[in-house]
């Protein structure tokens, strides 16, 4: 929006480094954690870290679909809250282990509806996605409050918690392997494949870069945009399942995750307002964000400092990206 279109005469010929800086950042941060806390080098240490980051990483990968298509999805946190508190906990799963098998599909169904509504409102009613999804956020939070009466009752059965809590033990080489990490790898691969190995992914990039040009080139802009919101909402549900399995459930369990997902994507080099982004780099961005939070914990800084750091990272990463793009003359 504020990009300068005028071509800069002194386009620097410096080659861009081949590696996305986010990977360097992640390695540096993980090393820093390891130095401060050597127990991190053992399987339980780093596997627990990966387990903790799985929900955010999957969520960010889905949020990236919307970001690449040129929008924002601020309703993911409330989607997590809604599906978890209402469906997962207070209404249905009254400690019946067998209910998990139809609860998760039902939650995904709700996610699908939320994503569809977001997408339809943005595509056909032309409401800017920021407003549309913010409105969706307060609506869904209201629904979550309404149905749960302020505090979720009941608790999740162990079969539901399997995805977020269970560790497969006695795995050769690494000892333990949390199911959450397997989920991260599986869904991360699916998201990567969809974004970087299919025509659909190319269309996503195209509509984010220039919707007019994409439309003229024959991309079904509306449908692709709606599908991006659907992917985002579905990953929010999946992330919610993992998150719900890990800890307790409350009516603000998902709050703040929408911004963390955007921050992770931005750290991973995704371009806001569309056209550029990579799923592996975004997952690395989520790792970096969680690593920073872990470091803050190790240093002994309180929870609110996280917010400050996240805000600084968000602004800093976008400013840096803009600066680099300008210098590269693009």
């Amino acid at each position: 929006m504020t990009e300068q279109t005028a071509a800069r005469p002194e386009v620097s010929r410096r080659r861009l480094p081949g590696v996305n800086p986010v990977y360097v950042l992640v390695v540096a941060l993980l090393l820093a954690i390891f130095i401060m806390n050597p127990a991190f080098g053992e399987p339980t240490g780093y596997m627990n870290f990966l387990k903790r980051v799985a929900a955010l990483a999957i969520l960010s990968g889905g949020a990236l679909y919307v970001i690449v298509s040129g929008g924002f999805d601020l309703s993911v946190g409330s989607t997590m809250t809604l599906t978890l508190t209402v469906i997962g906990s207070s209404m249905l799963a009254s400690n019946d282990p067998n209910s998990t098998y139809w609860i998760i599909p039902l939650m995904l169904g709700i996610g699908l509806v939320v994503g569809l509504i977001n997408g339809l409102v943005v595509s056909y009613l032309k409401v800017p996605s920021l407003i549309a999804t913010l409105g969706m956020m307060i609506t869904l939070n209201g629904v979550a409050f309404m149905w749960s009466g302020g505090a979720p009752r009941g608790y999740l059965p162990d079969t539901f918690r399997f995805f977020g809590r269970f560790n497969i033990s006695d795995v050769p080489l690494i000892g333990i392997l949390p199911v959450a990490v397997i989920c991260l790898v599986v869904f991360g691969t699916i998201l990567w494949w969809g974004m970087h190995r299919t025509n659909y992914g190319r269309m996503l990039h195209a509509i984010g870069d220039n919707p007019q040009a994409a439309r003229l080139a024959g991309v079904p802009v509306q449908r692709v945009r709606i599908s991006a919101f659907v992917v985002s909402a579905l990953t929010a549900v999946l992330a919610g399942v993992i998150l719900g399995g890990r800890g307790g459930v409350s009516v603000d369990i998902g709050s703040g995750y929408e911004l963390q997902a955007i921050t992770a994507a931005v750290i991973g080099g995704a371009q806001l307002l569309g056209g550029r982004g990579s799923v592996p780099a975004t997952i690395a961005g989520a790792l970096a964000l969680e690593a920073i939070f872990t470091l803050l914990n190790l240093i002994g800084l309180a929870q609110p400092v996280r917010l400050v750091v996240q805000g600084l990272i968000l602004i800093g990463a976008v400013a840096l990206a803009t600066y680099q793009r300008k210098r590269a003359g693009r």
Binding site: L125, P128, G135, I138, P304, V308, L314, T322
Partner: protein, 328 residues
């Protein structure tokens, strides 16, 4: 967001857009009256109640006046809710029940607002960070700093200062007069000053404004300073009304989203350059009428939140659905 639509604008539709906020306002008034009459609660139709309805949305109104400036320059400010919280807390902590500290507290809060607006503007114009992200980041930073030091109501506002929220001339509260005076001032600035016309030019087309010799960065920074100042004033008012400030009161009121929604309902275009203060004030009144309708109809608080979310989206869609430009 600043790209021009490919199709030519159609004059008759434009007229409709100009009067849409008035139509919505009349519709809201009509629904309110019909509902009150239908429920047989005509005691809600008195002048006292009208003033009470207006008085309920002073915070939103003051915030929305500032937000109008930000949106008119094709920017946006998502940090207003945190600024309101910070301003309310600083007001009550600095005053701490001492009438003599009233002036220093107000000055401190206003300079806080000015600094936040200045930083927002500088980050947006000089670092060229997307305004959504710049102000969201700023919001996180303010909220983090605030909740690091305070986690509950802190300080107290002296009785003398509560006059701002509770005093009145006849039945009209000072705060209501203040809000409309502020709106009048904002209207004057937008309508009759060079800065005002610069705001419209920059919002309409930043490149054209720059080529026409307008220092666009200064205009954007100025708009953000005004926006944050208004949010700070809203925080002062809220502290006076609640008799103290807490770090969550801004976020609880969803003032960031509501102020944007009110501005948009008032007919100011999110892409910038078109709209005005009186539309925003109409939007504020529409919102407080909707609130009163819910209250009269006895809607549950959580249901109210759900309906508000839907109404905000519907209201923005009401304007946006006809636009030809693609949105993201």
């Amino acid at each position: 967001m600043t790209d021009t639509p490919l199709t030519a604008s159609k004059p008759p539709r434009f007229r409709f857009d100009r009067h849409a906020s008035t139509i919505l306002l009349l519709a809201a008034i009509a629904i309110y009256i019909v509902l009150v009459v239908a429920l047989g609660q005509t005691r809600f139709l008195t002048l006292d109640n009208l003033v009470a309805i207006l008085g309920r949305s002073i915070t939103l109104g003051i915030t929305a006046i500032g937000q109008t400036f930000a949106i008119l320059v094709a920017s946006i400010d998502l940090s207003v809710a945190s600024v309101i919280s910070a301003a309310a807390v600083v007001t009550s902590v600095v005053m701490n029940g001492e009438p003599s500290m009233m002036l220093p507290a107000i000055l401190a809060v206003l300079s806080l607002g000015a600094v936040v607006g200045l930083i927002n503007g500088l980050v947006i114009t000089k670092l060229e960070v997307n305004p959504l992200i710049a102000t969201l980041g700023m919001s996180l930073i303010i909220q983090g700093v605030l909740s690091y030091y305070y986690n509950n109501f802190a300080g107290a506002v002296p009785a003398e200062f509560q006059v701002f929220a509770y005093g009145s001339v006849g039945i009209v509260p000072y705060s209501l007069i203040f809000m409309f005076a502020l709106a009048g001032l904002a209207w004057f600035v937008l309508r009759f000053t060079r800065f005002g016309s610069d705001i419209y030019s920059v919002g309409g087309n930043q490149d054209a404004a720059r080529l026409a010799g307008i220092k666009t960065a200064r205009v954007v920074i100025g708009a953000h300073v005004i926006c944050s100042l208004c949010a700070a004033i809203a925080g002062i008012y809220l502290a006076s009304r609640l008799r103290s400030g807490a770090p969550w009161i801004g976020a609880e009121g969803v003032y960031d989203l509501e102020s944007i929604a009110v501005v948009v309902i008032g007919g100011t275009v999110l892409a910038g350059g078109r709209g005005g203060i009186w539309g925003t004030m109409a939007g504020v009144i529409i919102f407080s009428l909707i609130d009163s309708i819910f209250n009269v109809a006895g809607v549950d608080a959580f249901v109210k939140q759900v309906l508000r979310g839907i109404i905000i989206i519907a209201a923005v869609a009401f304007y946006a659905a006809r636009s030809q430009r693609p949105v993201a």
